[in-house]
C-alpha cells in the first residue's frame, strides 16, 4: 500500500504493508530513529509521536491509519527552532540516559499546547504514559512546568 502523510512538515509517501507499525516505518523506511522502541506494546511511551497533534504510541498505530494525517516526531519538534520543552529539559536536568526523552518531549509539547502553564499534577497525568527509569520524574515535571514560564525559554 502507498501511504501518504505529512511527516514533520514534509509530505512523504511510503510503500509498505498497511499493518506495518508506524514506529517501524519511521525508523526503517524514513530513517527517523529518534522514536525508540522500549516494549513494543504501548506501555513505555518511548515511541510517542503526535498524529494531528495528539500524542500516540507509534508502536500501536498501523501505518495505514496515518494516511492523510500530520505526523510529528522528535526530529520535527525541535526543527527549525528548539522547542521550549527541549530547552527546559536541558536546563532542568530532565534527560539522563535519554532513551525515554523523545517520547517525553512529544507528550509534553502536546500538553503545553493545550495548557501552557500546567500544575505539577497535570504534568504527571500527561506524562503517565512515558516510563522513565533514570530521573524519578521530578526534574521532568519541573522542566515541563517551567518550560513556558519564562526564564528557561
Amino acid at each position: 500500500m502507498i501511504v501518504r502523510f505529512n511527516c514533520n512538515g514534509s509530505d512523504v509517501q511510503v510503500d509498505t504493508p498497511p499493518m506495518a507499525r508506524l514506529l517501524d516505518v519511521l525508523r526503517e523506511d524514513l530513517r527517523l530513529v529518534g522514536s525508540k522502541e522500549g516494549c513494543g506494546e504501548g506501555e513505555c511511551g518511548a515511541c510517542t509521536v503526535r498524529i494531528d497533534g495528539a500524542p500516540v504510541m507509534s508502536c500501536l498505530v498501523p501505518v495505514a491509519q496515518v494516511d492523510g494525517c500530520r505526523v510529528q516526531t522528535i526530529e520535527g519538534l525541535g526543527s527549525p527552532a528548539t522547542h521550549a520543552v527541549q530547552t527546559a529539559m536541558l536546563m532542568f536536568g530532565g534527560a539522563q540516559c535519554g532513551i525515554c526523552t523523545p517520547g517525553i518531549c512529544m507528550s509534553a509539547a502536546a500538553l503545553l499546547e493545550e495548557n501552557p502553564h500546567p500544575t505539577a499534577e497535570a504534568v504527571r497525568v500527561a506524562l503517565a504514559g512515558n516510563l522513565c527509569r533514570c530521573t524519578g520524574y521530578q526534574k521532568v515535571v519541573d522542566a515541563v512546568c517551567g518550560a513556558l514560564a519564562g526564564g528557561a525559554s
Partner: protein, 725 residues
C-alpha cells in the same frame, strides 16, 4: 568555577532532539539480525540441536557451541558460564544456539524452528535447600561464596534479645533501552563491537578470550540506562553477535525484545536475612548476629562481590560493639542474578532498618530516638575495624528533618479513585554506602585516564561510560576546572577500547569519585608535562606553544590508591571502603485502607555527596535511584513459573512507577568532603537505593499499623498485613 555549577549536560541536546544514536539505531549496510535459541528447561542434558524441516534455512546462519574458536566461557570472575550451553543447560533461558538472518522477523522465526532435544534432570530452585545439596550446580556444595565477619567484644550486660527475618525479592533493572549489540568484521580479520554497555573492557576481554585472539575493539553506543544490568550481561550479547558475524561474514546486530530481556537477563539477588541482636533497655545496641542467604542463580557472575557488599553494609550506619556476621550466596537452577545499583547493600540495609523498627517496637522506644542513640559518630569503629572519619549520619538526618518540616502538598491525582479512605504516615530511614570498590579493589584495577591535546583543546580518554549519570559532562568539568579553562574546550572521546585506556568498569559509585579523581590528577600531570616542554605559563599559553610545536601531547594517569587503606580480604577486617556516603530518607505516604495501595505524597532525601560536582546531575542520580527504590518497595515483583522462568515478562505486568506513582521529591545535598575525591566528591550512584524501602515500611506501619518485613510490599501484602493486625 565550573565545579559546583550545573552546566547543561553535554549529550543533552542530542538526546532531546533524537539525534543520539543508540545501538539499535545503527544499521550498517548488509547488516543481519541475530536471535537466540534458549533453554525451556531449568536443568537438562542437551541430546541434540537441529534445524526443523519445512523451514527455509537458505538465508540463515546457525551457530552452536561447536563454532566457538576459543574458550566457551563468558569471562568475568569465574570461568563457569558458557557462551553457549555445551551439553547441559543449568537454567531456563540459557542460550543454546544462535541464528542470524536478513531481517529481525526472519531471525526470530528461524530461532523458533531450531529444535532442541532435552533429557530433563532434577533441578534446585530454593537457595536455602541448594546449599550443600547432593545435586551439584557449582563447586562442592553449591556455594559461590561464604563470608564471615567477627569483630568486637561480646557483652555481659543485661540485654534484650530481639530476632527477626527479612526478605527481599528479585528486581529487574528495567533500563528502558533493551540490550543491544552490533558486531562488525574488520578488514584485518578482527571484530568491532558497538553496543549498549557500562563496561567496554569487560566485553573486550570476554570476546578476546572466546576468540582466542586480540583483534577486538569495543565501543559504547549511546546507552539507554544500565543500573548494573549492562555491567556484565552485555558480554554475552557481544560474544553471540561476534559468533554470528563470523558465521554470516557480515555485520550482525542483536537487540532483545523486551520479553526476552526480562526473562533472560540478570536481576537483583533475592535475600533472606536473619538478625539477632542484643540491646539494652535504654536502646543501646550491643551485639549483632546476622545470617544472610542470597540466591545467585545458576552461574557465578558477580555474586561473591554482591554478597561482600551486603555483609559490609549489614550493620547499617550504627555502632555495634560486637558483631558476628555470616553470609552465603548459593547456586540454584535459575537465571543468574547480577549487578544492580546498590549491589547487595540495599537488601542488607532493608533488613537492618526494619530490624531497628522491630527493636523500637519491642522496647517501646521511638524509632528515631533509637537510631540517634546508635548512629555513627566520628571515631566510631565499624564491624571490619575501620575507624570512621567524619561520618555524615547526623548531618543527613538533620538536613532531611529540616526539609521535611515543610507541609506536604495533599493534591495528588489518582485516576479512577474517589472517596477512598486513606491514612497518612511518615517514615524515616538511614543508610550508608561505601564508595568505590571494596578494600583493595582499586589497587587491583589501577584505572587509567589519558588526556590529549587536540589543537588547544583537551580530549579525555577513558573507558568510563555515560549511561545517563553524566560522565560526558562531569569529566570535562573536572579537567577544565583543574586546567583553569573553559569547559567548552574539554571533551570526552568515544569510549572505544581501541582508543582509550582501561579506567575500570562503570560501576560501584566509582566513576566520578575514582576516575574523576584520576581526571583531576591527569590534568595536573598535563600541566606539568607542558611546563617541562614549553616553560612557564598558564594552560592557554602552554597549549598555544604546544600547538605551534606540533606533535602528539598525551599524558596518562593511573589511579593512586589511598595508602591509608588496609584491607584483609580473608578476615574481612580493615578499611572496607575509602569513604562512605550517608543518606536519610523521609517518606510521606497514604495507605488506602480498602486496597492496601500506597500513594506516595513526598519523599525528602538528604545525601552526603562529598561535593556536588554538578548539583543538577547529582540530584538527578539521587531522585532516579530513590524512585527505583520505591518501585522495589511496593510495586516490582518478579513472578517465576515452575521452571524458574519469569512469568510477568512484559511491561504490562512487571510494574515500575509512572510519573503518577512517583512522589514530589525534595533533594538535599549535604557536602562533607572526601579528600581523596575530586574537589571532595564521593560516589553517589547507588546510595539512593539503600534507605527508601525501609522508610516506606515504617510509614506504612505509621499509617495503618501493618508490619511488613518482606519486599515487595505489594497492595496484596499490605492488605494481608492490615488484616493480620
Amino acid at each position: 568555577m565550573v565545579i559546583g555549577t550545573s552546566p547543561p549536560r553535554r549529550d543533552g541536546m542530542d538526546k532531546l532532539t533524537g539525534r543520539s544514536l543508540y545501538a539499535d539505531d545503527l544499521r550498517p549496510s548488509g547488516v543481519w539480525y541475530g536471535a537466540t535459541v534458549r533453554s525451556s528447561r531449568a536443568h537438562a542434558r542437551i541430546l541434540g540441536v537441529r534445524r526443523a524441516e519445512g523451514f527455509d534455512w537458505s538465508n540463515v546462519v546457525l551457530v552452536t557451541a561447536d563454532d566457538i574458536p576459543g574458550l566457551n566461557v563468558v569471562s568475568l570472575m569465574t570461568d563457569d558460564q558458557p557462551v553457549l550451553a555445551d551439553g547441559i543447560v543449568r537454567h531456563v533461558t540459557e542460550p543454546i544456539a544462535l541464528v542470524a538472518a536478513p531481517t529481525r522477523e526472519h531471525a526470530l522465526a528461524a530461532a523458533q524452528h531450531v529444535v532442541v532435544e532435552y533429557e530433563d534432570l532434577p533441578a534446585l530452585f530454593d537457595p536455602l535447600a541448594a546449599e550443600g545439596h547432593e545435586l551439584r550446580i557449582f563447586g562442592e556444595d553449591n556455594v559461590f561464596k561464604r563470608i564471615r565477619i567477627e569483630h568486637g567484644v561480646r557483652t555481659d550486660a543485661t540485654a534484650h534479645l530481639i530476632r527477626g527475618r527479612y526478605t527481599t525479592g528479585l528486581q529487574e533493572q528495567l533500563y528502558i533501552e533493551p540490550q543491544s549489540m552490533l558486531a562488525e568484521l574488520r578488514a584485518d580479520g578482527g571484530i568491532t563491537l558497538t553496543g549498549s554497555m557500562q563496561c567496554p573492557y569487560y566485553i573486550d576481554r570476554a570476546v578476546k578470550r572466546m576468540l582466542g585472539h586480540d583483534r577486538v575493539n569495543v565501543a559504547q553506543a549511546v546507552t539507554g540506562g544500565g543500573f548494573g544490568g549492562k555491567e556484565e550481561y552485555p558480554s554475552i550479547l557481544a560474544c553471540h553477535a561476534t559468533l554470528l558475524a563470523i558465521a554470516a561474514r557480515r555485520p550482525v546486530k542483536i537487540t532483545y525484545r523486551r520479553d526476552e530481556d526480562l526473562r533472560a537477563t540478570t536481576k537483583r539477588h533475592p535475600a533472606v536475612i536473619d538478625l539477632v541482636t542484643m540491646v539494652t533497655a535504654r536502646g543501646q545496641l550491643l551485639e549483632l548476629h546476622g545470617r544472610v542467604w542470597m540466591d545467585g542463580g545458576a552461574y557465578h557472575t558477580l555474586s561473591t562481590v554482591v554478597l561482600s557488599r551486603a555483609m559490609l553494609h549489614l550493620q547499617g550506619p550504627y555502632r555495634w560493639p560486637y558483631a558476628s556476621l555470616h553470609g552465603t550466596v548459593v547456586a540454584t537452577h535459575t537465571p543468574p542474578n547480577g549487578a544492580f545499583r546498590g549491589f547487595g547493600a540495599p537488601q542488607a540495609q532493608w533488613a537492618m532498618e526494619r530490624h531497628m523498627d522491630r527493636i523500637a517496637r519491642h522496647m517501646r522506644l521511638d524509632p528515631l530516638v533509637l537510631r540517634r542513640e546508635n548512629l555513627f559518630v566520628h571515631g566510631d569503629v565499624s564491624v571490619t575495624g575501620q575507624t570512621l572519619q567524619n561520618p555524615g549520619a547526623f548531618a543527613v538526618l538533620e538536613a532531611a528533618e529540616r526539609a521535611a518540616a515543610a507541609p506536604v502538598n495533599p493534591k495528588r491525582v489518582r485516576p479512577g479513585v474517589v472517596g477512598a479512605e486513606m491514612r497518612s504516615g511518615r517514615g524515616l530511614a538511614l543508610a550508608w554506602h561505601g564508595c568505590g570498590f571494596t578494600g583493595n579493589g582499586e589497587a587491583k584495577i589501577r584505572g587509567k585516564v589519558a588526556l590529549e591535546l587536540r589543537g588547544r583543546d583537551v580530549a579525555v580518554l577513558s573507558s568510563s561510560t555515560d549511561i545517563g549519570q553524566g560522565t560526558e559532562t562531569i569529566f570535562p568539568m573536572i579537567v577544565a576546572q583543574t586546567l583553569g579553562i573553559d569547559m567548552e574546550r574539554v571533551f570526552n572521546t568515544a569510549h572505544d577500547t581501541g582508543l582509550v585506556p582501561d579506567s575500570g568498569p562503570t560501576v560501584a559509585s566509582r566513576t566520578a569519585m575514582v576516575v574523576g579523581g584520576t581526571c583531576e590528577k591527569a590534568a595536573q600531570r598535563l600541566l606539568r608535562h607542558l611546563r617541562e616542554l614549553h616553560g612557564e605559563g598558564d594552560f592557554d599559553a602552554l597549549a598555544a606553544r604546544a600547538e605551534a610545536a606540533g606533535g602528539l601531547v598525551r599524558v596518562e594517569e593511573t589511579y593512586e590508591v589511598n595508602t591509608n587503606v588496609e584491607w584483609n580480604p580473608d578476615t574481612y577486617q580493615g578499611d572496607a571502603y575509602p569513604c562512605y556516603g550517608w543518606s536519610c530518607v523521609i517518606v510521606d505516604l497514604r495507605v488506602d485502607l480498602d486496597t492496601g495501595e500506597v500513594l506516595y505524597d513526598r519523599v525528602v532525601t538528604a545525601t552526603d555527596v562529598g561535593k556536588a560536582l554538578s548539583p543538577v546531575l547529582a540530584a538527578g542520580q539521587i531522585e532516579g535511584g530513590t524512585l527505583q527504590a520505591l518501585g522495589w518497595a511496593t510495586q516490582e515483583e518478579v513472578v517465576l513459573d515452575k521452571q524458574g522462568c519469569m512469568r510477568n515478562d512484559r511491561l504490562t505486568n512487571y510494574i515500575i512507577p509512572t510519573a503518577l506513582d512517583g512522589p514530589e521529591m525534595i533533594t538535599e545535598l549535604v557536602e562533607i568532603p572526601y579528600e581523596g575525591g575530586p574537589f571532595g566528591a564521593k560516589g553517589i550512584g547507588e546510595i539512593p537505593m539503600d534507605a527508601p524501602a525501609a522508610a516506606v515500611a515504617q510509614a506504612i506501619e505509621a499509617a495503618c499499623g501493618a508490619v511488613l518485613d518482606s519486599l515487595p510490599m505489594t497492595p496484596e501484602r499490605v492488605f494481608a498485613a492490615m488484616e493480620a493486625r
